[in-house]
Symmetry: C2
Subunit: 411 residues, 2 copies
């Protein structure tokens, strides 16, 4: 088994064929629950059929394909086929096609592997229609409450229950997918970095030690709308400037803790050129791999917002929009991933992912590790998303070495 190696060229050819079928000049169109997503799964199904494997779907719409080993205990490998509209060819698809290539390699290896191997294609990682990311993996992890989606409508007006029912998924029963994680010895996922770190370091790949925690807060400043021409500067209560000050204050807070802070959404009211903003709603997205540092960032951010509001005679309302704690992957598996990555010339130290992945949910109950490959320009969720082919090859090689060792009983 130790001599087996993934055929990176074959995996990349599958990715290009998938892109031909479900992508195009405007980017990938594999939005979860839609026709193109189904077409992607049909393509995967045809490839699995060549190996004599029939995939099954669980209660949350996740697709599972099992290659029996000598042991009942199984290693899961996978990612997600769904994409954002106009997305890239690699986000999610890379991990699924790498898993397919692993099954193909093991199946062709002659002897059955020690542990069984299951490919998993998680349903609706992106949360495009209903704003709920990691749908399938959180159902499997036991953290999805169907009430979160009940009555939520897609942009076309169709409620979640109806969209899911149309493809045979009963929202209320989705949590029953949790049974699928029982008896899994490990979960491994290959994904693109979606950020610029590896490219800037000139490295093809990295092991991933876990996912950062996220604190996403809505900060609502209320001042006094006033006429742009008649209100002297010293008599203003400009909620927009209070929000601007807060946004700028988050930057040094994030830097000093080694985290990130983003203020990509700011809405001013009345929002016209001739009126001082009486109301400003700023979304602050704070991320850090360590819970303590994240809590400090959040406390300092709140202090900065209070100070900015007070300095302008504005009131401040704060509410948590969403949060998730930092999730560390399995140290032993991360070390195995790191070694495999270093063997192909990758990063000596694991990265922490600032983006969320299905692996984060799975890691709550199954020993988990991830491998990242570089992202050209750090871009993702756009048709420009890409990875240099040599980096793809080395990342597939590292992922293959890791997976084959774990399937062989490593760790």
């Amino acid at each position: 088994l130790a001599d087996l190696r993934l055929d990176a060229g074959r995996a990349i050819a599958d990715l290009r064929e998938l892109d031909r079928l479900t992508g195009g000049p405007e980017g990938a169109r594999r939005v979860a629950w839609g026709e193109e997503w189904q077409a992607a799964r049909d393509f995967l199904g045809r490839r699995l059929a060549e190996l004599g494997i029939e995939p099954e779907r669980d209660e949350a719409g996740n697709l599972w394909a099992r290659l029996e080993g000598r042991e009942r205990e199984a290693v899961a490998v996978g990612s997600h086929l769904d994409s954002v509209p106009g997305g890239g060819w690699l986000d999610g698809a890379l991990g699924v096609m790498a898993a397919l290539e692993l099954l193909r390699t093991l199946a062709a290896g002659g002897d059955a592997p020690a542990r069984s191997v299951v490919l998993v294609d998680w349903a609706d990682e992106e949360g495009v229609r209903f704003g709920r990311s990691l749908f399938g993996s959180s159902a499997a992890a036991g953290t999805l409450d169907p009430a979160e989606l009940r009555g939520i409508s897609a942009p076309d007006g169709r409620p979640a229950e109806e969209v899911l029912a149309a493809v045979g998924v009963d929202l209320e029963r989705a949590p029953e997918a949790a049974g699928r994680l029982e008896g899994l010895a490990a979960y491994l996922e290959l994904h693109i970095e979606q950020g610029p770190v590896l490219e800037s370091e000139g490295l093809p790949a990295a092991a991933v030690a876990g996912t950062a925690g996220v604190e996403r807060h809505r900060l609502v400043f209320e001042g006094q709308a006033a006429h742009a021409g008649t209100t002297p500067m010293e008599m203003r209560h400009d909620a927009g400037l209070a929000a601007a000050e807060t946004a700028l204050a988050l930057e040094p807070i994030a830097r000093s803790h080694g985290g990130v802070a983003t203020t990509g959404r700011l809405a001013l009211t009345p929002g016209i050129p001739t009126a001082v903003a009486g109301r400003a709603e700023l979304m602050a997205d704070l991320r850090h791999p360590e819970a303590g540092a994240l809590a400090s960032m959040l406390a300092e951010a709140h202090e900065a917002a209070v100070r900015a509001a007070k300095g302008r005679g504005c009131s401040l309302r704060r509410e948590r929009a969403w949060s998730i704690e930092p999730l560390a992957f399995d140290p032993g598996l991360v070390e195995l991933a790191r070694r495999a990555v270093v063997e192909v010339g990758g990063r000596p130290e694991p990265l922490v992912s600032g983006a969320l992945h299905d692996a984060a949910e799975v890691s709550r109950s199954v020993p988990t590790a991830m491998v990242f490959c570089s992202s050209t320009g750090g871009l993702s969720h756009t048709r420009e998303e890409d990875t240099p082919e040599p980096d793809l090859e080395r990342a597939l090689e590292a992922f293959g070495r890791l997976a084959i060792r774990v399937v062989g009983g490593g760790r």
Copy 2:
């Protein structure tokens, strides 16, 4: 003639009746060219009929009502009956009802006044439907180009030509209203301040020396949209933060010159919590009574924007959205207005209006002055707009003294 005095209580009663007819719990509804605006004009027409005066409409939809004096030369007095939706009871209406009260007082005075007096109700001062303020007065002043409005649609989709034609106004012929300003000896307008200065000084009224110049510029910052989780702080090109820095930098620039700067509109793209803003469009509205100081503010604002863009590796595109030079009213008339205001306990020094008024357009060719009364809380363009009745009375008294002196030949 010098013994005549306006009946402030009667003018205020007319304003309350107008508010009863065309206002309500949600505020004034006299949007130009609409039914309620027409209802307000009908009310004015009934009051004028009591004086035996039949108003005329010019090519731009302005309404003129003439009380003949012994001389052909005329003094114009007025303001605008149109309002923003949900506006206040005094913005514009005060000046028209003050003009009506002047005609009523002069007509009841027995002897014909020296100069003729014309009441004018300017059409579409607010520019609600088509975003073009001072429509009627700029047509009269010769600064309206029909091309500005041709093909521009109201929010309900109806083009300007059609809306105007429905009330009998031919857009192409609107500039012919310019003939109405010929032979006018003076133009006088009473208006609410729409700002907090008089209230903060505890004063009821002020003469107005002119209107501030306005430079309204669109600043478009282009950085790089990026994932909120995967993009380290030091690798970002955050267009939103470049715009925030610029907005904050305008504040000390305005203060140091004694002007005002407002950034009430800021649009981020993609505008979602999980992405660094790749694009930010900031509107900067700069105002100052002196052209030189306004030019300095503009130059410093541009420098600040360039610096903010450069500091974050963003590009900057700047375009002028609109501008108007500072317009000084007639010094002799302003001094007469100041004296009348001081006689009723008003402000010893004239104010410069930061808001625009029909008077600014008229002042290009006719000697002009204005009187302001206080605005409660500095609020306008809202149903909360108000002025304490004693301040209204004193402002009407000052306006009456000024107008009667000018009509009598003063200036």
